[in-house]
């Protein structure tokens, strides 16, 4: 979790080992429109301490899926302009299926579980909290 601008190249550079033949990467970027409305920016609010722990848990789960691959995942908080990176995930693994699968797993879990909320700001000066996902509480975690 960071309030600094995310550099995708730097996130990519954090993965890769001599035995890894594949690197998969995903970045989320603030779009200039959503459902037909012109967007001027996005404000990310997070429950920082919990988000940090939850992101670490998601990464650990993904590492298991990636056969011990190396993983870097960063999520931005604060006010972002259109085109800025909100989340960046890099995974290196021996083979491509594992790398893609782990990167995809992390972004899907982030969207399901990470305690982060976003308020979209529109060019007409209106703003709205975006509809999100209600986290599912698993029995063994309660």
């Amino acid at each position: 979790m960071t309030r600094e601008s995310i550099d995708p190249g730097a996130v990519l550079a954090r993965v890769g080992r001599p035995g890894d033949g594949a690197v998969a990467f995903f970045a989320g970027v603030v779009r200039n429109e959503n459902e037909g409305r012109a967007v001027s920016g996005m404000e990310y609010e997070g429950y920082d301490e919990m988000a940090r722990e939850e992101l670490a848990a998601i990464v650990a789960e993904a590492a298991e899926r990636a056969g011990g691959g190396r993983i870097a995942a960063v999520h931005r908080l604060g006010s972002l302009a259109v085109g800025e990176v909100s989340v960046a995930i890099a995974v290196s693994a021996p083979h491509r299926a594992e790398a893609f699968d782990a990167a995809r797993y992390i972004i899907e879990q982030i969207k399901k579980r990470l305690p982060v909320w976003k308020r979209e700001h529109y060019l007409d000066r209106d703003a709205e909290w975006l509809e999100g996902h209600l986290p599912v509480v698993e029995a063994e975690r309660g």
Binding site: G46, M50, E53, P115, V137, G142
Partner: protein
């Protein structure tokens, strides 16, 4: 018996609020709820809902984290627990 006396004391739980919930509370990032000893997350949610107005809509749209982990409704709350209402998340 000091132990017995402690067990009957109500606990003050500070609830952290985020995003739309924070705005429900007039922009405040937390609110204190006084609960009976050994109250559960469900009891806490009922207390908040009992405040009426916009609060009444809370429980059906909120998950709860206790000490930074998602917790089910029957989780018992203790003094000092960090309880957070988690509105539907929208990261990424």
């Amino acid at each position: 018996m000091a132990v017995r006396a402690d067990r009957d004391r109500p606990v003050d739980i500070t609830v952290l609020l985020f995003a739309a919930h924070r705005e429900l509370a007039g922009g405040r990032a937390d609110t204190v709820v006084t609960l009976p000893e050994r109250a559960t997350v469900d009891v806490l949610l009922a207390e908040l809902r009992a405040r009426g107005g916009e609060w009444a809509s809370l429980p059906s749209r909120a998950a709860v984290a206790v000490n930074r982990r998602y917790a089910s409704g029957d989780t018992v709350l203790y003094e000092g627990d960090e309880v957070a209402l988690i509105p539907p998340v929208a990261g990424g």
